[in-house]
Symmetry: C2
Subunit: 445 residues, 2 copies
């Protein structure tokens, strides 16, 4: 072993010329990467004697003032030129989008023998398995620490630090925009639309907020986490996704009163019936770790069969955290530390069946808007009894005879199928004015 390591060391030391990087996309993150490589150059060299140097860049507008000195770098008007640039060893893809130029660039880079570092979760969610296969066949790195949970080194943790474990489940707060909105709603009592508008004005939410608030961004990230956790093919289409548009200020107040907090979570679990991947708003106990992660912070909770629960919390977006993750990937490549992208070799990644939705067991919160008149509660209770759904708590605070008032119920554990049947029956009760507002309760530690 000693001799072996020494040899391998020598090989690596032989690679003493700098690792040369081409960056596609010079927005917030691209600028952050250039800035980090400059400002922390001494720190990087302390960890990794091989220098990392940006040699070429590509972005839409060459004239834009980014506060960066790009005079020494090759400028490529077409990002695709980086894929065949003779000086480039690694292409850093920061264009974004699941298809189009980002996909073309990554595919061409791999075809031309260049490593790829990307922050593009949409690309990996849709094409991760195929890209990993191409990279691994060419003995190239496809690294993407920045794509999930920004600055938190969660891919490294799951793929290396916790790699000795059979992962049982993983879940997390994967979208900072949603967590910020939900935190603001709770702290100010305002409604979703109002807080979203403010977040957009402040630049915390996009003009088109759909990717964030409808849970798609979180689902992209969850599909990647699932693959790394369970060594299976990335299966974005296997995720049940809903967002936070339907969370009302009223639900947040009831959640607090019941000892819960509302979070948009991505959850993935290996069950005997297949993989269960879900992204949705849910109630979690106020005492749980995840309940206390507020604002733009992300968190990922991993459960392994030997290590137990591991929690990682940090900033999920922004120039600094994302650049930190991108450069840590570059350092791994500079040290020739290349691993299969999704923990198991890509050629062994299989698509696992999705666990059937209806059989999932969990507790639920239901809010019903009813006409306040005698007999309504009896009707509701009868429906639940008939479907064998057992009630855990009921709140009917505001009395407003004849008017619409909320009745809030929480259930003990039951199946999703049973809740679906309850909801259909409740909808037929005349005194119930709106479809039931339903939210899963996740009894997390």
């Amino acid at each position: 072993m000693a001799a072996e390591s020494a040899t391998s060391r020598k090989t690596k030391a032989g690679a003493d010329r700098p690792l040369r990087v081409g960056i596609a996309g010079l927005g917030t993150v691209g600028g952050g990467v250039v800035k980090l490589l400059t400002e922390n150059r001494d720190v990087l060299l302390q960890h990794c004697p091989r220098a990392i140097e940006v040699v070429a860049v590509s972005a839409r507008d060459r004239k834009k003032d980014r506060g960066l000195d790009l005079s020494q770098l090759d400028w490529c008007d077409d990002a695709l030129a980086l894929a065949s640039h003779p000086k480039v060893d690694v292409v850093v893809e920061l264009i974004g989008g699941s298809d189009g130029p980002a996909k073309a660039l990554v595919e061409a880079a791999i075809a031309n023998g260049k490593h790829v570092v990307t922050a593009n979760k949409a690309l990996l969610a849709h094409h991760g398995t195929a890209l990993a296969l191409a990279a691994e066949r060419a003995s190239l790195g496809l690294a993407y620490e920045a794509a999930v949970a920004g600055g938190i080194p969660v891919i490294k943790a799951m793929r290396e630090g916790l790699a000795a474990n059979r992962i049982e489940h993983v879940y997390g707060i994967l979208n900072g925009t949603c967590n910020y909105i939900l935190t603001q709603m709770r702290e100010t009592g305002r409604e979703f639309a109002d807080v979203l508008a403010e977040a957009q004005a402040l630049g915390y939410a996009e003009a088109d907020p759909s990717f964030d608030v409808d849970g798609i961004d979180a689902a992209h990230k969850l599909s990647i986490l699932t693959s790394v956790a369970f060594g299976c093919a990335v299966d974005f289409d296997g995720i049940r996704v809903s967002g936070i548009r339907n969370v009302s200020a009223m639900d947040i107040v009831y959640a607090e009163e019941l000892g819960y907090r509302i979070k948009l979570l991505g959850l993935s679990r290996l069950t005997e019936h297949g993989v269960e991947q879900r992204v949705h708003a849910c109630m979690v106990p106020q005492s749980s770790v995840i309940a206390k992660v507020d604002g733009v912070f992300n968190a990922v909770v991993t459960n392994g069969n030997f290590v137990g629960q591991n929690v990682a919390i940090g900033r999920g977006a922004g120039a600094g955290p994302t650049a930190s993750a991108v450069v840590s990937d570059l350092m791994d490549i500079a040290r020739d530390r290349i691993l299969p992208a999704f923990s198991a070799p890509a050629e062994t990644l299989r698509k696992l069946p999705s666990a059937p939705v209806g059989r999932r067991i969990g507790a639920f919160y239901l809010r019903l808007m009813v006409v306040d008149k005698p007999g309504v509660v009896a009707d509701i209770a009868a429906i639940m009894r008939d479907e064998h759904v057992s009630m855990e708590a009921m709140i009917q605070r505001a009395r407003q005879p004849g008017g619409p008032v909320p009745i809030v119920l929480t259930t003990h554990e039951t199946t999703e199928a049973a809740i679906a049947r309850v909801v259909v029956k409740l909808d037929q009760v005349e005194a119930i004015l709106e479809p039931a507002h339903v939210m899963p309760i996740e009894m997390l530690a």
Copy 2:
């Protein structure tokens, strides 16, 4: 680059015989490692095609029933025999202790060209730099993920995942026994001695609890974190250490009332005057992440100049979590992923000066036991005014004319030197019956 990686890949693939492990120490952790390697064999092979096999073991009592099948393994009565065992590639040192057999074994293993994986924080705190130097000169791995924060992959996170950052400070709950005792004290209102006795009866604390409750174990771990964070020599002697014996049930009640929680923290910070390393009980805001880490859980908070705050929470001890960390180190070695032990190459590690204690700025909590008579508060206030220490809050709840009552003060930011002078002067006030009970307040996020 592609060709280079392919070559290196081939070299690694060439190492297709198993990585052969010799384990010294078959207590809880050693048994856990053997169990993990057996039960999770399929998971390990998925991540790391090179098998990891235990070939030899050493422990005190060969006849003890450990519930493990050791029949296929070489048994060494003397652990030192593992260091020269012809079949062993890696020695896993789980003996413990800063000197004696553990040190002899690790030194001999390195001298004989064998990699070392250890969970021994005491050994690294006292001899880490020298051992790293020996290992690196021989191109061998010296890996110790299990030595700090048990199952949390915090060494990997700092040395690789966050390696692109200039680390500004790192702190954490590094001793589960202390955190368990403090949590129990808070939840039950009981005194330290009482809870300690119970923890000993339950097996959560050692018969001789000094290493834990006097902060020494936490300091061992902090010295390692400091070295990894700042790329300096391990300097255990540079740590100011105190434990939790002096934390009283009364202080815990006041902390709650003031919006704080008492934790034993290890804190390390790079200042312009040198490295500041401290282990002591302190008050932290109830809203801080670290305040909410209860029971036997550990937590490490790292602040990097680009990534911002990163928090990792998990189990700091026990067979499963520790085995998880030990085996993740073995997987890195099996894949020939060997890095300098303390992030920077050992030959570059320098001892940094310790920051002078008196100049440290922070807020403080003081509890004074006084005779309840007019004029005492005026005396205290005058002393603080004279030393330019500004009061933030004062509580004098229980009135008991003529009897001893507590007066609790918190200060705004001041220097440790000023607080020391205040304490000396308070000690001279006749109506103050005991030396002041002083505790730093750490305004953590």
